[in-house]
């Protein structure tokens, strides 16, 4: 397969910085210049600059930019409050909303030629997932103290030998399924688009996949956030 053309990597190579040819580099500088890292920074800069431009001066009568953000943030706030309660939402809204915006933008940016989705690398998604996984356990411990272990022993004491491994396995499976689902969907989209561009780019063959890609990007961002909210809500509520 041909190498995809990534304009940040080209610029960095022109500047004389080492851009790794594999997925990750060997030296520290190569690892920093890997495409998924540079595009992560691009997404972060995009979110910073766009929100600064549209929300720099808040007005009583919102204009177009402020209206958009009010709908997005208000919708997410309602959705979180429905699922995990007002108090938890106020505490964790910055983290989860940042994840939602970051994942949505990072997924969608890969549809533009010359860009790549940072989420099509397992490193990015695994990092996000580990943060979510540790957070939901910390919240469980803070809500229940040491009684948190009751979440893992099932409803009756004589079922403990059966339920403890099952609960532990299904808890660790969250780590795997949450990261690999996002990574797999986005990488499949990127690879498919790349192959179709190479085979029949002149006949607009990638166009239907791009339409599907928009749907997949939004749904995967939504799934990630929904599951984060559900895990936190479950860690917080009382054991059955």
């Amino acid at each position: 397969m041909e190498h995809p053309i990534l304009f940040i990597s080209i610029i960095l190579e022109k500047l004389g910085l080492p851009v790794p040819h594999g997925f990750v580099g060997h030296t520290f500088l190569e690892q920093i210049c890997a495409p998924y890292m540079t595009y992560t920074w691009l997404v972060m800069a995009f979110l910073f600059i766009v929100s600064k431009l549209t929300l720099g001066n808040l007005e009583m009568i919102p204009g177009g930019g402020q209206n958009f953000w009010e709908i997005v943030i208000g919708g997410m706030d309602d959705f979180f409050a429905d699922n995990m309660g007002r108090e938890m939402t106020d505490k964790l809204f910055p983290m989860i909303a940042t994840f939602a915006l970051y994942i949505a933008v990072a997924n969608l940016i890969g549809l533009i030629p010359g860009f790549m989705s940072p989420t099509s690398s397992i490193n990015t998604t695994l990092a996000l997932t580990i943060i979510v996984w540790i957070t939901h356990h910390v919240i469980g411990f803070r809500a229940h103290g040491l009684n948190y272990y009751k979440h893992f022993i099932g409803p009756m004491w004589w079922l403990i030998p059966l339920m403890l491994p099952i609960e532990l396995i299904s808890n660790f499976a969250r780590l795997l399924s949450l990261s690999i689902r996002l990574f797999g969907n986005i990488m499949a989209k990127e690879t498919l688009l790349g192959i179709l561009f190479m085979l029949a780019g002149a006949f607009f063959a990638p166009l239907p996949i791009m339409v599907l890609g928009v749907l997949v990007s939004l749904v995967q961002a939504m799934v990630f956030v929904l599951l984060t909210v559900v895990y936190i809500a479950q860690a917080q509520e009382h054991a059955h």
Binding site: L162, P165, I166, E167, I169, S170, F172, A173, R174, L176, S177, I180, R181, L218, V219, M222, V223, L226, L227, V230
Partner: protein
């Protein structure tokens, strides 16, 4: 966004990860069993912990499947009640 699209994205978000969670549970169980057999007990207990881990993994897969189904059912009931209350 139209309400149909919103509904569809909600459904996809709720049910789209059923298969993946199931498979992840089985692989975690199987992997745990293989590690117990090969690394912890140095192959002296093979293949027993592998099979036990596989069985627990499959059980955990079904458990997480039922968790998803029950959670969606509960949420649907809650939302229906809210809609009725609104009028």
């Amino acid at each position: 966004m139209s309400s149909f699209k919103k509904e569809m994205i909600h459904l996809l978000a709720n049910y789209g990860h059923v298969g993946f969670t199931f498979v992840a549970c089985i692989f975690i169980g199987l992997g745990g069993g293989i590690i117990l057999d090969q690394k912890v007990f140095d192959g002296s207990t093979a293949p027993w912990f592998t099979f036990i881990g596989l069985a627990f993994g499959i059980a955990a897969g079904f458990k997480s499947l039922f968790d998803i189904l029950w959670r969606v059912k509960k949420n649907d009931g809650k939302n229906d009640g809210k809609d009725d209350g609104r009028g």
